[in-house]
Symmetry: C2
Subunit: 342 residues, 2 copies
Amino acid sequence: MNAKMQWLRNKLSSMNLQGMIVSNPVNIQYLTNLQAEGILLLTRKDNIYITDGRYTEYVNKTLTIFDEITVYDVKDISLDDYENFFLFCENVGFEENYLTYAKYKEYIRKFKINSFVETEEIIEKQRVIKDEEEIKSIKQACQITKNCFEYIKPYIKPGSTEKQVARLIDDYYCKNAEGPSFATIVASGENSSKPHAVPTDREFTNQDIITIDMGCVYNGYCSDMTRTFFIGEPTEKQKKVYNLVQKNHTQTIDAIKEGANIKQLAKMVENDFKLNGYNLIHSLGHGVGLQIHEKPYLSSRVDATLRENMVITVEPGIYIPGEFGVRIEDTVLVEKGGAQIL
Amino acid sequence: MNAKMQWLRNKLSSMNLQGMIVSNPVNIQYLTNLQAEGILLLTRKDNIYITDGRYTEYVNKTLTIFDEITVYDVKDISLDDYENFFLFCENVGFEENYLTYAKYKEYIRKFKINSFVETEEIIEKQRVIKDEEEIKSIKQACQITKNCFEYIKPYIKPGSTEKQVARLIDDYYCKNAEGPSFATIVASGENSSKPHAVPTDREFTNQDIITIDMGCVYNGYCSDMTRTFFIGEPTEKQKKVYNLVQKNHTQTIDAIKEGANIKQLAKMVENDFKLNGYNLIHSLGHGVGLQIHEKPYLSSRVDATLRENMVITVEPGIYIPGEFGVRIEDTVLVEKGGAQIL
């Protein structure tokens, strides 16, 4: 059994759970590397993956004997099979934040589950701490993003359009990685004041501000990076806002280490922005892994502590509606004594 | 209030439901045209949309007074507000196939709901019958797909790669529509034997078989079309399979009209394929609308009847592992006395 499955089995033991149904596909990918449609059952003795005809060939090719997972095609499972899977389990865990109410009822009936227990995101909570392999994949995704960034730099000039540059980025990611990890943002002029702007046909002018938010997927893992550029000389206001964002970006990264308090990190930026007449309208950052946005969320409403080997973004931003916006973002690894920019 | 919201209100009345929480984003788009993150409440008197700071500007711009929908930013809602929304409602409906178990419990607690009632996909079931506006949008999406098809025809020649042609299609859709409605399939040679093949760098040869499955989004609505081509002279086996698929494609469209039985349509193709030694390994077709795959599903396991103004695909296909595959697909409108290819 791989280390992650073994971890989950130990975790279930410690919670006095005798079985679990994992249905969140990202959690299944985390535990098994499988990217398919199906559910993973941990019964008293066996690990079982139930999928359908579209995926059986792929699943059987991907899993090895070492995984110790038995694969079933849903169409070959009898009513008796369903009842037998958890036959001697007094209780079975499920993912209450992923399972729909309809499936919740269906599983209790089909699997004859006596006690179906909420598991409070145990797997999501474990996913925040990355192992060596995961960090390697994220580092590589960040490296590809850095290279892509160098590749598009010459195109950030008057006459290029937002859509053209976004297309170049996406093409680069399709060739050099598994594709973009989210909808690439290229927002210029007024558009840069929208944190989630969609690229338009707007042409860059010879006096422009441009925010690019980009990331890719490598080996299943994501990267995330934002830069704001100027063509020509920025206005005094733009300079002031840029410097304020950059200062807070640097200060946050300097403050990140194992044990740092998330609430305090976010408060520090919020307060400095407020002192200057601005607001932080989105969170200061988020975890990055198999998903582009995952725990932990860096917000002043989250009273939690950073831990070693978390991978998070730091992305302070200021947006002035109808004028412009500035955001600077890096993906960093939390270490014992500090942060490593990936 | 728009016609779709009015329909839902009448439907709730007829089900003796005094309120409903709509959380499926596609259903919210159907009812309100909004494409954001949020939930729609139908209370005794009001229609309420709850979203967050990222979307409030967009939502307020998109809705008109005519919509009669009050917008709330989630951060401005007090505990009392939550309790007041459904204050005099004896029961409230919810979408059991969309709402997670955790949200189900949270809503009962937050909104102080006495009786939270499953609504058995009432909105999804209504969505299968398209109105005039919806049919117009799908027709336009199909027209753009037809034009795109003419545009790429010259590139279907020896030396082009699957990825190149897929890229041309996606670019065309990004320029002339809201983008592709699903991951474009360009599968040549052996690859064509996989129904869900992902485009590779394989070059077309001067004796090749190529399946292209493509569709776009226009005005929120999807199109879906597949063609199989030959470069050079097809083999006898390829000719035989192609003719068999084409014959069943035509026969199915000829049999489609209001009142036709879905099970019989699918059985007819399955049987003809079997007589010739082949199997229909996926469904014969599916509904098309705001989603690329929606109800009704044309399968021999679905004992239901086609109704006027359903929009469905007809896509028989035969796949010979390691050799080749053939699929022919059109999107059609079900009419009283027949089918209109869109």
